[in-house]
């Protein structure tokens, strides 16, 4: 299985450096419409940096990124989000002081019809829209079994719930592409299998593409249709999971080291 012919997202020759370190080097990457693509590689390979490049947190030093046919160059993160790219963060970034409900509600903001004026007048249009948002938020929270926590402050949730809440929040922006950065980190096995089910479910239901960064190979195999392997910022291999994971370079760079102490696979990695 090869890169899609007319991809939804396309990176061409993307490079970024931090001081002397080239975190991502001349990367080509394509995600097709409604594809489930995995991006894997050892810690420090540059996966999170790729997410940051796509979402406009960092600017590439070279190369370009196109989404749905238009270039993302020079756009702010919020503009990129409004084009239909949503993400989660490796070290969870919820709005800690807000309730679970509000964390999701605020993400509906992109498609809001009413603005300040409506909020001030509080007329029928405003109330109707707020009510419809409320019911949609609740529906999404129920899908992810977070409904009963809706009034709790986000920071008070257990770790696994926080990770799921971040996914709900991302989905609430109605993306066409969802970027998940190690969503299974810190989850127990039953939470992980539920997560796999949920990722497949939302991909079906909302008809979106998913780019998944994940260290847990069971999750990766269970979810992804295609894999891209990154090491030291360079693409090592690409293809269907069975082939890629058996590729000698990949085994050497990534799987081989699971037996060595260079990295503990299940531990939530920092940044």
């Amino acid at each position: 299985m090869n890169a899609p012919a007319s991809p939804l997202l396309e990176l061409r020759g993307c490079t970024i450096r931090f001081g002397g370190l080239t975190a991502v080097s001349g990367l080509d990457l394509a995600v097709g419409e409604r594809e489930l693509l995995g991006l894997i590689g050892p810690n420090g390979a540059g996966k999170t940096t790729v997410f940051n490049l796509i979402t406009g947190v960092y600017r590439p030093a070279a190369g370009n990124i196109r989404f749905a046919g238009s270039s993302l160059a020079g756009l702010r993160p919020c503009q990129i989000a409004s084009l239909g790219i949503a993400r989660t963060f490796q070290n969870i970034r919820l709005f800690p002081s807000m309730t679970v409900f509000d964390n999701v509600r605020v993400a509906f903001h992109l498609h809001l019809l009413s603005g300040i004026a409506h909020a001030l007048w509080r007329g029928r249009t405003f109330r109707a829209e707020e009510e419809s948002i409320e019911s949609r938020v609740m529906e999404m929270l129920e899908i992810f079994r977070l409904g009963r926590h809706r009034g709790a402050a986000a920071h008070s949730l257990p770790y696994g719930d926080q990770r799921r809440l971040e996914i709900v929040r991302a989905l609430a922006t109605r993306p066409r592409l969802l970027l998940l950065d190690e969503p299974a980190a810190g989850m127990n096995p039953s939470e992980k299998s539920e997560l796999m089910r949920l990722i497949r479910f939302v991909q079906e239901r909302y008809r979106i593409a998913v780019l998944l960064v994940e260290h847990d190979m069971h999750v990766v195999r269970g979810v992804c249709q295609r894999l891209v392997v990154l090491d030291y910022g360079v693409k090592l291999a690409e293809g269907v999971p069975e082939d890629v994971l058996r590729h000698p370079k990949v085994v050497a760079a990534y799987l081989g080291e699971q037996n060595t102490p260079r990295r503990a696979p299940a531990a939530p990695a920092e940044s």
Partner: protein, 333 residues
């Protein structure tokens, strides 16, 4: 279109203000004075709360916005309006028609300055932003000190006495209404999102620049109105009255009230205005006691005086508006 229930509460407050104002000759002038001061401080604190408390932009320049409002409003009633239509110089006409326009002009001018002062918040955070906004406030003050047309360092005297209970209570109610309505909406949760995590906010499509500037502009607008009320209440203003200690005083109300908690901030504004008055009998020690109490308060209740939960329960019968208040759990779908 039917306005929300909150809106009716606002109208109620305005009505109460006008009744009180009509009866104001029966009220002890000292209490009247204190009441007007309290209401002006409530406007200042609630409007700063939008910037500091909800949006998390630590601003110490609020007195500067107040100064702009005070000078522009006073200039409107004293020079511009009588210049434009000479008939407008009768006291009654100034009080009823020119004054609201003057307040609006003061608010708009301050709001415009809010764009300028808010701009650094796009690059700076925390203490740096605090000191830069403080600097802006001081610059505004120095500009007025050098403007001879508004009295320079001597200040502006002979401002008509237009401020009364009706205007102050109505404006305070309007400020509270506007800030809470903005914040308690899907749109308005964006302010708190910006405060909580800017990167995450951008990632869900929130234009953090727009939100920050909006907070500064709206906050400054109401501070400008407070300034207009203040000038037409004190009848003379001078640049020293708007120095950074005034900004700090307002910030204190926000912090003691518990950032982003409007009810708490209102109560803190009232208490901090009344405290020096209550300490009047011990005149000599008054300000020493005041600062001592301040330290003590911070040491004993660092979360702010007023926990939102307590007050929400207390006030819930009155506060239930068209949409559930944002801190409340939403009603079941």
């Amino acid at each position: 279109m039917m306005p929300g229930r909150r809106f009716l509460l606002l109208l109620g407050a305005v009505a109460a203000g006008s009744v009180l104002s009509l009866q104001s000759h029966r009220i002890n002038p000292y209490f009247l004075d204190v009441a007007v001061t309290v209401a002006i401080n409530v406007i200042l604190a609630v409007s700063l709360n939008l910037i500091n408390g909800y949006t998390g932009q630590f601003s110490l320049g609020h007195a500067g916005f107040m100064a702009i409002g005070a000078y522009i409003a006073a200039s409107t009633t004293m020079f511009w309006a009588p210049g434009l239509l000479p008939a407008a110089s009768s006291p009654g006409f100034i009080g009823m028609a020119v004054f609201p326009a003057a307040l609006l002009a003061g608010g708009l001018a301050a709001g415009l300055a809010g764009i300028l002062v808010g701009a650094p918040s796009l690059r700076l955070k925390g203490d740096y932003l605090a000191i830069v906004t403080l600097g802006f406030g001081e610059i505004i003050r120095v500009i007025f000190r050098n403007l001879e047309s508004v009295g320079g360092a001597l200040g502006l005297n002979g401002i008509p006495a237009c401020t009364n209970l009706f205007w102050t209570i109505s404006m305070a109610a309007l400020t509270i209404y506007a800030v809470t309505s903005m914040v308690h909406s899907t749109y308005g949760r964006g302010f708190t999102a910006v405060q909580d995590d800017e990167i995450a906010a951008e990632a869900i499509g929130i234009n953090t620049t727009r939100y920050k500037i909006t907070a500064f502009v709206v906050g400054a607008f109401f501070a400008g109105i407070a300034g207009g009320l203040y000038g037409h209440f004190k009848l003379s203003i001078d640049p020293r009255g708007f120095d950074f200690m005034k900004s700090i005083e307002i910030a204190l109300m926000v912090i003691l009230g518990g950032m982003g908690n409007t009810v708490g901030v209102i109560i803190a504004a009232i208490l901090l205005t009344l405290l020096p008055e209550l300490l009047r009998p011990v005149a000599e020690y008054r300000m020493m006691l005041y600062s001592f109490l301040l330290i003590l308060l911070m040491l004993t209740c660092p979360q702010g005086l007023f926990q939102p939960r307590f007050f929400r329960r207390l006030l819930s019968p009155f506060l239930r508006g068209s949409a559930a208040p944002a801190e409340d759990p939403p009603r079941p779908a």
